[in-house]
Amino acid sequence: MGETLAEKILSAASGKSARAGEIVIVDVDVTAVQDGTGPLTIEQVKELGGRPVNPDKTVLFIDHAAPSPRSELSNAHRTMREFAHETGARLSDVNQGIIHQRLIEEYVRPGDVVVGADSHTCMSGALGAFATGMGSTDIAIAMVSGKTWLRVPETYRIVVGGEFPSGVYPKDLILYLIGKIGAAGATYKALEFGGPAVAEMDVAGRLTLANMAVEAGGKVGLFPSDEKTRQFLASVGRSDDWSELRAETDANYERIYEIDLGALEPMLAAPHTVDNSFKVADAKGVKLDQVFIGSCTNGRIEDLRVAARILRGRQVNKDTRLIVTPASRLVYIQASKEGVLTDLAEAGALITAPGCGVCVGVHGGILGDGEVCLATSNRNFKGRMGNPKAEVYLASPATAAASAIKGEISDPRDVL
């Protein structure tokens, strides 16, 4: 019996045949923390009396509160900067962008084991890395020992065929899929994407899918490393980091989901769980106080282009605020060069510094009591955008842009 992608990567990283259900100790390639989880990791590293064994691949991201809105957070940032300075660990400071976007731009290679003190670390799986989120203490151990322990997950294979209809995007696919699997339906499992539509899909789309694997409870969302991966790594100046990687054809999958994109429609997740999945067509007309386009899920240049195309020459509704956050500095610069930021700003969008603040309710775009927001991020839990008395819907950048124009949940196919 052949190996799934998860088994293949973990076998190589553990030096033995790693089969689903087994506990393995693996060598870790990249460890990451952000400013919410990093200070506690640093405390634990000190408690252990250790230091990062692989400082070049130990990365501290200042993104959740960037730039800092409060002195307590500024002090947490100081702790992180000092630690990086003392140990040689890498620092991604306030202007650089969101942890997961930065990881795929600069650090992660196909076949790597990546552990991060942030649940959406699973996004790096789009490059064919075994990437998963853990807590601060687990990451501290990985930093000082270069190793972590993992239970080799069983795999659900998601076979995708057909073509995206106009107005339908990878975000709609993942919202549909999470609705089908359920918020806990893939707990402890790897999701492995494949099939003809995946072979055709660019890395940006794959990242959106892998990002949300955790919203179905998954440990990692995995993609093969192929020609598209090679092109992406070349685009960020890392051609040498590419290698081919795919699951063996006779691998054992616990479950197989087959999806025909042709039948898919624009989707959304209604408050307050991500698996509360609806067709946009069935939720049309819900009034929106705020629309947010950004986050590690959908803040890439491809996402901003889609939004700009819809908003160009149009205006955001006067009763609705549109906030746009590029996922990283690189995305920001690219969007600026292409005129995408101008299109968005002319339509009435507010463009913020790259980071997490709006998505996680730390600063910027905090909702008022009873307010309703449609966001392109990955979570709509109660309190997520800073106020438990507010409501958050999740959707694609196209749905977000169309909805910002109307001031209510709208189908992007009506404006394309």
Binding site: R70, D118, G135, I141, T148, T187, V214
Partner: protein, 166 residues
Amino acid sequence: MSLKGKAWKFGDDISTDHIAPGRLFHLRTNLPELAKHVLEDADPEFAASMSPGDFVVGGRNFGLGSSREHAPRIIRLAGISAILAKSFARIFFRNAINVGLPILVCDTDKIDTGDELEVDLSAGEVMNKTKNIKLQFAPLPPAMVKILADGGLVEHFKKHGRLAVE
């Protein structure tokens, strides 16, 4: 070892945003202060009303969402002796064990807020004294038993000088 206290019942899908909300992000480096807000977005009265030794009782998929270890840490810091739920989210489960907080998978339908519980960790039993019902909970995976027995992950690593869970 047996633990005694009152049950505080919560529903399904209690997320780490319910437990340690993002809007209190600036308190992440001040855990005693953050603990005063534990589970605030699920029950604003909880932190002020609970007593040390009590149990948090959830439904399905307890602890879903972010990897913030602060969530199980402040539950422990508030004095909760264990969490009982039908199922737990993966990262939360691992974090709870790492910080030395026992978490038990059992059928929580027959537990309500205010019930007096007695948990026998080694026998794998929960006695609901108010309702006079005995419940079984599933044993932890062996790797986690080792970490919990060592007093959490940092202590485990110090004791063995490496990860010793294989």
